[in-house]
């Protein structure tokens, strides 16, 4: 108990919670934007995140890290764009359930391909010198990635909200998410808007993967599934379609999860760190299905 209450312990738990939250937020934005526009839970998003991690391993093995990072982001963006064009666009007029099944199929394909490429062996993410430096805060050594993540996340989010609120494509995105059909009638190129959404989501997932796997370096083919689902829960918690909501949800889940993991092992509750997220999901869905900042949608008969 003494150890639990020490300042160092609290600071380190909180900081790594905030860092995990920031990483989840970057994935959650991809979910929430796609859901806002297509009304689709993009089950493959977590696996795109995993693929970005694997790309990081293979590309840093070939070229220096500062060239590798942009290449990883570019390829991930291309992957996201390609997935949308190949697997979701043909189903634009199909029932929502078919698109979701297609997303599950893509996720299955990405996981199996990753198993094939890696030979099923868990891979280790390379240590990026800059991110792994340690600094002392309140007497606790903290990795720089932990401090850098929230700052970077906030910067990216400010940038993203500026894009959405100030630019023409951002306005088009808001229009499409309000009413798909009408915006098409107004001359908005819906397919371009959707592609841009996937591009932004994938780019953020790639950045997220660099930060996340620098902290948790083991990558297996299913490594994307759990962070992906948690990010989705964060998006639902904040009100799906709302970017600030997703970010707040992600930070909350990140912090709670690290606290649960950090509780004394005698209590034996760390096995519930994943389950907690889903319990939170069921509670929020039953109490306030629209989430914190979600808009209430009514079905017209």
């Amino acid at each position: 108990m003494q150890q639990l209450l020490s300042l160092e312990y609290i600071v380190s738990i909180l900081l790594s919670g905030i860092s995990l939250g920031g990483q989840l937020a970057l994935i959650a934005i991809g979910y929430t934007m796609v859901y806002g526009i297509l009304r689709l839970i993009n089950f493959a998003h977590g696996d795109v995140f995993m693929v970005a991690g694997l790309l990081g391993i293979y590309i840093t093995a070939a070229v220096p890290i500062y060239i590798a990072i942009p290449i990883v982001i570019l390829i991930t963006v291309a992957l996201g764009f390609f997935i949308e064009r190949a697997a979701y666009k043909p189903l634009r007029s199909a029932p929502r359930m078919s698109v979701m099944i297609s997303a599950i199929g893509v996720s299955y394909l990405l996981q199996n391909t990753a198993t094939y490429v890696t030979g099923g062996q868990p891979m280790t993410y390379p240590t990026i010198q800059l991110l792994n430096k340690t600094v002392n805060i309140a007497g606790t050594p903290i990795k720089l990635v932990v401090l850098l993540t929230p700052v970077l996340v906030l910067l990216l989010i400010v940038l993203l909200t500026q894009i959405i609120n100030r630019t023409k494509i951002g306005m088009a995105m808001r229009a499409v998410s309000k009413d798909f059909e009408t915006s098409r009638l107004m001359g908005i190129k819906v397919n371009t808007v959707i592609s841009v959404t996937f591009v932004i989501g994938s780019a953020l997932a790639a950045v997220g993967s660099i930060l996340y796997f620098s902290t948790y370096p083991g990558i297996t083919p299913t490594a994307g599934a759990m962070p992906g689902l948690k990010a989705f829960v964060a998006a639902v918690f904040g009100g799906i379609g709302s970017i600030p909501g997703a970010v707040i949800g992600a930070f909350l889940i990140g912090i709670c999860e690290t606290i649960i993991k950090g509780l004394p092992s005698a209590w034996d509750v760390s096995v519930f760190s994943d389950a907690f997220t889903f319990a939170l999901l069921i509670i929020i869905l039953t109490c306030k299905p629209t989430g914190l900042f979600g808009e209430k949608a009514t079905d017209k008969v």
């Binding site: 839970i41 189903l91 979701m100 394909l109 199996n112 994943d274 069921i282």
Partner: protein, 407 residues
């Protein structure tokens, strides 16, 4: 009157079909004992029987998922969770008292001081009768526990709309998986370790006094149980409740306006589906001879969902055919893709461990994208349908084959 006659005919043909399949299974399995030199494929260790057993188990789960997704339009992804409940219930209650200390040695014995196996052995002896009763009671218990949890979780969750329902049920399955791996519940669930030593399919093989198997029934048992369960599901779907389910699937608001109680029927479909998923989970535990929480992942649910899609959403016979195709491809027919192959000195590119699943998932994506109706669409297999199809092939005429609705 005509209607009645027709349904009588389809009932008879369905029964004949099932009896034929069961007889075929017994024959296949005992072929190696009847004939001295059978090809390797009919030996008891052949992949054929793995495929048949796993296919039977999975087809029940796929049909139960189809009842929910295809017939009621509730997009639920909790199937693995209910399978887990079924598997653990069956395992916990049927491990014999004598084996408990050994299974639960990490926790100094089990907290459940009761075993269905010992209960029946105490008054039926150790023969076949007590084994059958134990398995039956175990399976029903497994289904009931899954159904009970479905009733509890259904109350809050079934009010949610399509994709929220999917993610909530998925989350529920993940919560269950965490609970069953919790060390504190170890005396009941054996923590993250597997539970073993309960009656499995191979216990049904009849042995003579020397311990040599004289009659193999280990593949027949899952087929009988699964056939019975699927018949029950078909009866439910063809009843007035089944029509209400389909009405809800096609248009929720219209169904409610017609006086169909949405919540009652959704709940009924959810509970029934979970009951059979629980039985399926127990059968799965029997098939792999152990119960372990870590295998019931969301990937398993996705697998079953993809099977339902391949077979055709809204077709029972489609789900069954889809399951056997899926299991046969993934366990057996595509195995050659995993082996490094040389033709002369030329090494065939790409072929190595894992390639099978890549090819397989590409095929699945093609089905999902371009043949979204699956194998059967929402039609059912029937003798008349097959006959029509055959005559169509013969005559090369484009007259549409009329298909009637039963298995």
């Amino acid at each position: 009157m005509l209607e009645k006659k027709k349904s009588f005919k389809t009932t008879i043909s369905a029964m004949v079909g099932i009896a034929f399949i069961l007889a075929l299974v017994v024959l296949l399995e005992n072929l190696s004992a009847l004939l001295p030199n059978v090809p390797a494929i009919f030996q008891p260790t052949s992949q054929l029987f793995t495929v048949l057993k796993k296919g039977a188990v999975y087809s029940l789960v796929a049909v139960s998922m189809n009842l929910l997704n295809g017939f009621t339009g509730l997009f639920s992804l909790g199937q693995a969770g209910f399978m887990l409940l079924g598997a653990y219930t069956y395992a916990i209650f049927t491990v014999p008292m004598a084996a408990k200390d050994q299974v639960y040695y990490l926790y100094g014995g089990s907290a459940v001081k009761f075993s269905v196996t010992d209960l029946f052995q105490s008054f039926l002896g150790t023969g076949a009768a007590s084994l059958i009763c134990t398995v039956l009671v175990g399976l029903i218990l497994a289904g009931l526990v899954a159904a009970l949890f479905a009733a509890l979780i259904g109350l809050p969750v079934l009010r949610l709309k399509s994709d929220y329902l999917a993610i909530a049920t998925l989350g529920f399955a993940e919560i269950l998986r965490a609970i069953f791996q919790w060390q504190t519940l170890g005396p009941v669930t054996n923590g993250a370790n597997m539970i073993k030593s309960f009656p499995t399919f191979s216990d049904f093989n009849i042995e003579n006094a020397q311990g040599v198997v004289t009659l193999r029934l280990s593949t027949l048992v899952p087929f009988v149980v699964v056939a019975l369960c699927i018949v029950l599901i078909v009866l439910l779907i063809n009843s007035s409740y089944g029509r209400a389910f389909k009405a809800i699937r096609d248009d929720e608001i219209a169904a409610e306006a017609m006086g169909v109680s949405l919540f009652k029927h959704k709940m009924m479909s959810f509970i029934t589906s979970s009951f059979f998923a629980g039985v399926g989970g127990a059968l799965f535990a029997m098939y792999v001879s152990n119960a372990q929480a870590k295998v019931f992942t969301s990937a398993m649910t996705y697998e079953i969902l993809l099977i339902v899609v391949i077979g055709g959403i809204g077709s029972i016979s489609g789900s069954v055919i889809g399951t056997f195709l899926y299991v046969a491809c993934s366990e057996w027919w595509l195995r050659f893709l995993d082996a490094e192959t040389y033709i002369g000195s030329f090494k065939v590119p790409l072929l190595r461990s894992g390639f099978r699943m890549v090819v397989f998932s590409v095929v699945i994506m093609i089905i999902v994208l371009f043949f979204s109706r699956g194998i059967m669409g929402d039609k059912e297999l029937s003798f008349k349908g097959i006959g029509g199809l055959l005559s169509k092939c013969k005559k090369k005429k484009s007259a549409p084959a009329e298909e009637e609705g039963t298995v």
